[in-house]
Symmetry: C2
DNA sequence: TGAACATATGAACAATCATTCATATAACGT
DNA sequence: ACGTTATATGAATGATTGTTCATATGTTCA
């Protein structure tokens, strides 16, 4: 026997069924939502943001980025792997060095949008 | 005595000083980068993305969102607090219920950009 | 005022993740 | 071939974080 009131333990019943049904019909699938979140998750790290911003000004090799950000070559390389795997940056081999640059124009647009959001007094991280 | 080659232990010397100097001059401050990363970090969670997507279709109260996403009222409330504190959603009181809705048009634009990025075969989370 | 309902919140736990350290791969100069 | 340089990577670790559980706040109705 299952309870009367709760269909699923812990999960509440809806208050406004029409709204819920309507939204449920318009909601994208979980796969899409997951991909979207994973994409933003990559931008949700200060080091990666700084790498992307740097590359928006000029292509750079790993050691230069590491020096610019005052971080270890290993740390930068790990993050570049994440960015490369996400197709946000691309690599160009030149001798011993490997030059990275932005792979997607959308990246700059998105950063631009985030910038606009901050400008309009959205999320304030440092200055509370 | 300090080493000759390495100014800072662990941090490498730049290979292309001109590039580094140029980019360093254009780079935003760390505060800005940190705020930007914090902003994207908020979008980097599937639950929060689904909440924002749902609210882009209609304002909803907490229990409705919880039911829609098949999650606990507590979990949703916690995430709504994050979104509210980041000024991404706003709350409207109506009796016992509290209706949430998007607070910023940029949110939709940003989600749109992320969507475009995925469309162009950027980050593929589920469908590899 | 008391019961029922809607939401918020604090502490705890599990899972995720960025960095470090050590080491591997790869390319260049000699 | 050897040493040097540039980058990549695997394992370990410390920090962050999303969810759960229990409970608190606040609203409505009787």
């Amino acid at each position: 026997m299952i309870q009367n009131r709760e269909e699923v333990p812990g999960i509440p019943e809806p208050l406004h069924c029409e709204t819920v049904e309507s939204v449920k019909g318009q909601m994208p699938g979980n796969d899409f939502c997951s991909s979207l979140a994973d994409f933003f998750k990559i931008l949700g790290d200060m080091t990666r943001v700084r790498i992307l911003l740097a590359l928006s000004f000029s292509e750079m090799c790993v050691l230069d980025i590491a020096f610019l950000l005052g971080m270890t070559q290993s740390a930068i390389s790990h993050q570049l792997r994440v960015l490369r795997h996400a197709r946000l940056v691309k690599a160009r081999k030149a001798g011993k060095s490997i030059f990275y640059s932005l792979d997607d124009e959308h990246v700059e647009n998105i950063v631009e949008e985030g910038f606009e959001h901050l400008r309009h007094g959205g999320t304030r991280g440092a200055a509370g």
